[in-house]
Assembly symmetry: C2
Homo-oligomer: 376 residues x 2
Amino acid sequence: MDFLIDNECFYKAISDVNKAVSLKTPFPILSGIKISAYHDSLVLIGSNSDIVIEKVIPLTLDGVKVLEVNKSGSVVIPATHLSEIIKKLPAKVHLRVNDKQLVTIQSEEIVTKMFGFNSDEYPKLPQFDETDYIKISSTELIEIIKQTTFAVSKNESQPVLTGVKMLFKDNHLSFAATDSHRLALREIIVDSNINGSFIVPSTSLNELTKLINNDNSETRIYVNDNFMVFKASTFTLFSRLIEGNYPNITGLLPKNSKTIITLDTAQLLRGIDRACLFAGEWKNNNVQLEIIDGKKIKISSNSSKIGGIEETQNIRVINGETDLTISLDGSYLINALKVIKEEEIRLSFGGSMRPVLIEPINNPYYMHLISPVRSY
Amino acid sequence: MDFLIDNECFYKAISDVNKAVSLKTPFPILSGIKISAYHDSLVLIGSNSDIVIEKVIPLTLDGVKVLEVNKSGSVVIPATHLSEIIKKLPAKVHLRVNDKQLVTIQSEEIVTKMFGFNSDEYPKLPQFDETDYIKISSTELIEIIKQTTFAVSKNESQPVLTGVKMLFKDNHLSFAATDSHRLALREIIVDSNINGSFIVPSTSLNELTKLINNDNSETRIYVNDNFMVFKASTFTLFSRLIEGNYPNITGLLPKNSKTIITLDTAQLLRGIDRACLFAGEWKNNNVQLEIIDGKKIKISSNSSKIGGIEETQNIRVINGETDLTISLDGSYLINALKVIKEEEIRLSFGGSMRPVLIEPINNPYYMHLISPVRSY
């Protein structure tokens, strides 16, 4: 193998696939990046037990020549050292591999030699059927992931809850995440011939958001019994799926509410954020909401050791009963409010011991549910 | 105590004195900030076992009214909570304290209550003689501290070496720092009537650089048997001194050199930085320097596990013997080169087992010494 490549373009690709590479693997070769040179492109692959990331560098990018392959071939190079050295090279990189897997990397008068691995020992990429897929705007995909993944469970004892449930059904795609105390639900309409329900590790989706260029591009999603593939113009990400039965979500959504109020999203977020300063001293970041005189909401929290904080905010619209006091985990409310970009939100209460439904005004595609905490 | 204050100005002052406040203190009151309101100013004090920081807020700043004191008095408020809450308040802050030390902080419709401490229990500030001091440009003081403190010992077993030795003598002030493997020495000429030698904790000097505005202001330095005081227009920092005998430095400086070379500072720094990628796999970050053909310097490092790197750079001027190979701790070289802003440096070698002297060209006030490591 022998090729010349633009150092910045090479470094960017290495950084991207490096996101998948884990140093914790028991197999030294898996802490490496597989580099394959073909006559018309360079392919980089990094992987861990959850995901595989593949990047393809063509000969030219935006009309500029970035790659020249003198001899095709492939090798696996330790990821950390490769990334560090390429980052610090000043100019075009010349990379050669001899038949003993000794890699020579040269840039101007700087010569580096590294011991590589035989690429035949690197696991093969999974094969998938490329006929059925859905297309989704990359910007929208990032938004959906950010609106849901934060609600997954951090507790590994129930593996299905650490993933996001993606349900493909009749041109609808829905993302659901819950840790059993809260639920985030987002739906979009897509052009799809896929049907089925899949649980994707939230870590895979979070890595995906880091790889996607926040531009006007599209991402294609392919599914298979064992993995899901996200393919954008510059990369392909393979994610394993989580096996198991996801809890029934539709049964959790409240059917009727006693009190419905409309508030300013940003103002409520700032108020809850302030109340959480003291709430942190409690278990569950306990913040209390109380409707005052049917037109204001009081946000408060108290700590017997440090003190307390309270403030009132105007309710924009109120329907139903005006008598309400409820305690919530403030950090859950902050998480939910942060991903809502609409200016106003609607909170629906079924009583002080019932979950609160949070929905952006003028957006029927997102909803969030938070269970109250007992405050006494 | 009762005063109104601009929230941003108050937050800035709290952040500054908070730098001194430690959460590790066994005395709860010392994890607080002492706030004293006088008819013409507000004084904030934070402290730990090494330093005390005092900030004074006048009634007006740059002609804008920022403070209004309705009733003088003082109180000590837990630093972390005070800082967090003031940061999140949207507008002017009204702070009141009742006779039970209950602090009420109000901003618009937000009311916070916190339990304070009786300020009589807070330690008194040390007194010092304000007649003798030296004046130094704040910008220069920051530079001197950054050029020396990095070389102090991180090992607490020899306390004097964890500090910087400041020697005031005949209108000269010198800063010296060593961990016994390297030595940083910086001198300046000052208008001074102080004589003596003092060892200041490097942590105090580092905090000082964060407080000083990098403008055209001046800092006054006062000394005393037990502490040193740094007084700038916006704050006063008191630092304890380290007791003990500092090692004799002048005996360490090499009298004669076998080889003297001049190199480009930035290029050498980048080369050493690259060589350190592999050097990190060795003990002591071992980087080898070798003079080639009397006109180039080869920088290399090797790891039997991973590989090796080498590059050559042009020597600009060479005097003396042209045969030299020496191994150095690359991270020490990086530290030294990073604080030299001159374009060229001179390296003086006494042989492969003698310390290397590093001096910027055209600046007789800074020098750095690094002991070699045995490479075989």
